[in-house]
Structures are given as structure tokens and as C-alpha cells.
Symmetry: C2
Subunit: 199 residues, 2 copies
């Protein structure tokens, strides 16, 4: 990822989410931004931890239809979450217990999201080519996760609301695809003066 | 939309969401399915009603970064929601008060979602060509919305959770793009025997 793309990604993400309290909207838009800006990617988004069911649950994403629930320690996502460390997998087919959601996926990066010691979920990005993700990408993915934690005073846990009407666990992101030039909307979004995520 | 595509879309949507209670995951996956299956579309997803702020709020979607909040009666989405009727707009640039999120969008269909008299939100689909949506598409979009209402015993209102940690309104869908052949994952998903949405 070039320095220019990183800078624009950070500024646009800042512009999109820093004034908005709605987590679902923010994670949905963040996934759209990642999907549009990152090259050689076919899926990007979040899975979030449901402590009641002891599973990661799919949240907002872009890319093809995905596995909804991932058990603790299962596949690349479950392993990264269980071990609380980011993982770069150059060839997912060689990863023990790999879960095939999209047959196009060849490599993957997963970064856990934690706030104040609470395990919230993971950011997951897949690529249709092997060896897609570098240490620089790991750094960027970590920064993207940390920016959500920084700005989200509301984001303290994967929260399950239960009432007469609702019973679902909140938020998540995911989705990726070949990058393109910034469109006018994004150029405008990128003009915000104070990116919260310095690179 | 061909009868075959409609049938597959319904069966796959059924397969994806009927066993899953998590609304965010379901709406996220539904948006992925729409985005992958519908032809000549550049955005698809939901906006959901926040009664506290009197606005529609962006939910899970696929497509480019989108407007987060839409006021009651504003643009195509706000008008369809306010008037509680589906709208097909052949040329969005001719629609009074049209909100330009993605400059590529040329035509649009919006269908309100209501359950037991409660206004929940809207399904919104944009196309990069004029005159994209037909009466048949309107019928399909209505069925997609109704299937969520049917299966979601949890979906009774756009629900705002407020606590020490969270304050966001729940769920939404959106995203569209040129269709493609079904992939293996989707073919498998389409084998479920009892579609809840008959066409």
C-alpha cells in the first residue's frame, strides 16, 4: 500500500466516522472505504465477539456472502481472536482448519480489536492472490482497528441487546476488491483537516 | 430480473438468514447477496429509522461510501419513508431534493419496511444507468423486505440501545453491482428445500 493511499484512507475514515455515533453506520462505511481503496482484495470486514454463544459473529462487510459464526479458535479469524495476535496468512489453504467462505480467497490478514482489555472482535481482510499482505499492511490494519477504539466511546464490548423485541449482537465490518481512483465524494471526504489517525 | 435469478435469490436469502437470529449478520449477508446477484446496480442496502433523531440511518450495505443520515422526507429515501410507499425513480437527477452519495447512481428503487404498523426503515438500490428498475423489480424488492419481516420475530422496530457503553441504532442493508454466475458457496446455499419467499 503506497503512502498516498494510506494517508487518504486514514483521512477519509476520519472524515466518515469521527462525527457519527452510530456504530453500525460507521463500520458499514468503513468497510465500503476499505473495499474501494485497497488493491487485490476480495473481502473485508469485521467479526465481533458474542460472549453468550462463545463465537465470532459476522458484522457489516463488503464482498461475497460470508460465514456467519466462527467458533473460538477456529480458522484464521478464530485463531487470531483466541490468541489475541494479528495473523498474516500467505496461503490460507495451508492454514490448519481454514474455513472456506469464498473460494477466491488465497491469503488473509486478521487483526484483533480490544479495548481496555475487553476482546471486541476482529478486522478480517481476504485477497484473491497468495502473499498479498505485508508487515506494512499489518501496521495499517492495526491502526484502522485502533482508530475505532479511540473514537468509539460507545465501543466497549460486543454488546448483546435482549428485550421483548430484539436479540442480536451488535456491529462488525468486512469487504474488499480492486482499488480505483477516488471518486468525488471520497475526495471531498478526504479534505477534513484533522485526521485522528496519523501515519 | 429473470425468473431463475429471482428464484435463486429467494432461496439463497432464505438459506442465509432463516436459521440466524443476528440481525446485523443477516442484513450484511443479504446485502452481499443482492450486490452479487443483481445486474446493473452500484449500491444496495438498508437505511433504518431512528425515531430519536427523526432520521434514517445507514446500515450494512455494499457499494461505495454512503450518506449516513437522511432526514424525514429528504431525497428519494426520505420521501419513500415519509410517504410509506415504494418509489422507482428513472432519473435521480430529476427528483426534487435528490441526495448525491455516489455520482454514478442514475436510477433508484426504494421500498419502505414496516412491521405491524411500525416504520422500520427502507431497502434502497441504486443503478448506474437510467430506467433500471421495473414493476417486476418493485415486486421483488417488496418480497425481500417482507421476508425479513416474516422471519424476524426480533425485528419489531428500529431499536436504539442506550446504556453506559452503547448508543446506536440497529441494523440496515445496502449494495449493488453487475451480477455474475453463482459461486460454489452460493450454489450450495441455494439447495435449501423450503424457501420462505415464494415467487
Amino acid at each position: 500500500m503506497s503512502r498516498t493511499i494510506k494517508f487518504m484512507l486514514n483521512k477519509q475514515l476520519d472524515a466518515i466516522i469521527k462525527e457519527e455515533k452510530n456504530t453500525i453506520a460507521n463500520l458499514s462505511n468503513a468497510s465500503a472505504l476499505l473495499f474501494d481503496q485497497l488493491s487485490n482484495i476480495n473481502w473485508a470486514g469485521f467479526y465481533l465477539w458474542d460472549s453468550e454463544d462463545d463465537e465470532l459473529i459476522l458484522g457489516p462487510f463488503q464482498g461475497k456472502v460470508a460465514c456467519i459464526r466462527i467458533k473460538h479458535g477456529e480458522g484464521v479469524c478464530g485463531t487470531a481472536f483466541k490468541e489475541q495476535r494479528s495473523l498474516i496468512v500467505d496461503d490460507v489453504h495451508l492454514f490448519p482448519g481454514h474455513i472456506t467462505c469464498d473460494a477466491e480467497s488465497q491469503s488473509e490478514i486478521v487483526v484483533p480489536i480490544t479495548k481496555n482489555g475487553k476482546q471486541i472482535g476482529i478486522l478480517d481482510i481476504d485477497a484473491p492472490i497468495k502473499n498479498r499482505f505485508s508487515e506494512e499492511d499489518r501496521s495499517i490494519a492495526r491502526r484502522i482497528c485502533s482508530c475505532f477504539i479511540t473514537v468509539y466511546k460507545y465501543l466497549n464490548a460486543l454488546y448483546t441487546c435482549q428485550s421483548q423485541f430484539i436479540d442480536y449482537t451488535l456491529f462488525s465490518i468486512c469487504a474488499l476488491k480492486p482499488s480505483s481512483e477516488l471518486n468525488n465524494h471520497q475526495k471531498k471526504a478526504g479534505t477534513v483537516s484533522q485526521p485522528f489517525l496519523q501515519i
